[in-house]
């Protein structure tokens, strides 16, 4: 088994933390091997954000994801750039608040209203999207049978300091529920 994930979006959404927690859940929760890399740089200032995660039950040598099995895009720019790379039979996950899809041919496409969900959860003015990344992971755990919700739950507990833990667990939970209710799994 080897699965390649590409998490992408803009700075501030926390997609890199999402990738990291996801990989940790695979390692500590599922006993799998995982490698995570990300793009650094001045671009990371307010610009685009990208992280690659490979999860496998064997050694992983080349650590970059050139062609993802699963592509997650939380920005139009990321979608425009990465969606052509998805492997045949792969999945592209987007949030319709951020991304208008145009790519249809090679990959299955799933739209998940993460933004809407998290805004509702945060009960805010529509501007606070804190937790959207954990919400994404909750959804992912339902969509891609690699990392279980329990492993993710543990990974979140492990990663966040006490004062942020609860909030993130809620967001995770919201993501799980969201998929159960609103997205058809495959």
């Amino acid at each position: 088994m080897i699965q390649r994930f590409l998490f992408s979006g803009t700075g501030g959404q926390g997609v890199i933390t999402a990738a990291l927690v996801f990989a940790e859940a695979a390692v500590f929760g599922e006993g799998l091997n995982a490698v995570q890399t990300q793009v650094y740089g001045p671009e990371a200032r307010g610009g685009s954000a990208r992280s690659d995660v490979i999860i496998a039950d064997r050694e992983i040598w080349f650590p970059k994801v050139l062609q993802p099995n699963v592509l997650i895009c939380l920005s139009q720019l990321a979608y425009d750039r990465f969606s052509p790379l998805v492997r045949p039979g792969g999945v592209t996950i987007t949030d319709p608040f951020y991304v208008t899809r145009w790519q249809h041919a090679t990959s299955r496409a799933l739209e998940i209203p993460l933004h809407e969900t998290i805004v509702a959860l945060n009960g805010g003015d529509g501007l606070s999207i804190q937790g959207i990344n954990m919400c994404l992971l909750g959804a992912l755990s339902r969509l891609i049978p690699v990392v279980s919700p329990e492993s993710l739950h543990n990974a979140v507990e492990r990663r966040f300091p006490a004062r942020h833990r609860e909030r993130n667990l809620q967001a995770l939970e919201a993501g799980t529920t969201l998929v159960r209710e609103r997205v058809t799994t495959f």
Binding site: G11, G12, P42, E43, R45, G46, G47
Partner: protein, 285 residues
């Protein structure tokens, strides 16, 4: 010219994070230059490395992005070689005073006609939130998880002791004053230093629970006291220390004094006599 006409618009929006104070410095600086009605071609901007240093990419002047901490050394060469240019050097607090501290004090000592803008966000922004020589003692940073133990420099006092002939401090909250001070600094003949307290909400703010950009700017508004230049200069000659210090960080113009400018001194006291004397036949130096 409109302010945005001084921009290289094709690179906008810039790379800085939302609410980054460096953008306000850019904003004020362009207004100062507009006010002075300078030609784009008369201005050279030399920066080092850091978020602050990236300002040079956005201004439509002659621009040079150099090495971390070394901008003033590059600027010294440029200014000496072409004294008619207006040379502006934007610097981060790390750039100016950590790795670049020596060039800073020496430029001040020489009183070379360069304007140094120190964009002080109390943190290394570009590399992700390490403490700088201007981080207040006790503050959090990625390399100070238990709080910094280092004491910060006071830029005004250091610049003063080193010999800068124009010294001011302001904040991004005081954007109008910043424009005025930057204009005065650029006009000043000699080494001018303008320290601008600038917010880095992404690292300094987050690490120190200082809130968002707005909260940090409110901090600048409430945590500073304006000095009267005359008072500052006559009371004790030490522009950094104010009786009002307890009340907050002093801001305003601390020094504006006439001292021989370096390029000018070199021309008058070295080049002109040497050229006049011509070359002695067999006389060695």
């Amino acid at each position: 010219m409109a302010v945005t006409d001084y921009l290289r618009r094709r690179f906008m929006p810039h790379i800085w994070c939302p609410g980054c104070g460096h953008g306000i410095v850019l904003n004020s600086l362009l207004r100062a230059i507009e006010k002075l009605e300078l030609e784009k071609n008369d201005i050279v901007m030399i920066s080092g490395i850091g978020c602050s240093a990236r300002i040079q990419g956005y201004v439509d002047f002659h621009t040079m992005h150099t090495l971390h901490g070394r901008a003033l050394a590059f600027a010294t060469g440029i200014k000496m070689a072409w004294p008619l240019l207006k040379v502006i050097v934007p610097m981060g607090d790390g750039d100016a005073l950590a790795i670049g501290g020596n060039h800073f004090i020496h430029a001040a000592r020489r009183n070379i006609d360069v304007t140094a803008i120190i964009m002080n966000n109390s943190i290394y922004g570009m590399t992700g939130g390490q403490h700088s020589p201007l981080t207040p003692c006790g503050d959090q940073a990625t390399t100070a998880p238990y709080g910094t133990v280092d004491s910060p420099f006071d830029v005004v006092r250091l610049a003063s002791a080193a010999g800068a002939s124009f010294i001011a401090r302001t904040t991004t909250y005081h954007a109008r004053e910043m424009t005025r001070l930057l204009a005065a600094a650029i006009e000043h003949r000699g080494f001018s230093v303008v320290e601008v307290l600038s917010q880095c909400p992404t690292y300094y703010g987050r690490k120190n629970d200082a809130g968002d950009a707005v909260a940090m700017m409110e901090g600048f508004r409430d945590g500073t006291v304006r000095i009267d230049r005359k008072t500052a200069e006559t009371s004790d000659g030490d522009p950094g220390r104010l009786d009002g210090e307890a009340a907050g960080t002093p801001i305003g113009l601390f020094r504006r004094e006439e001292r021989p400018e370096y390029c000018e001194a070199y021309r008058r006291r070295v080049v002109e006599p040497a050229m006049a004397a011509g070359r002695g036949e067999s006389e060695t130096p």
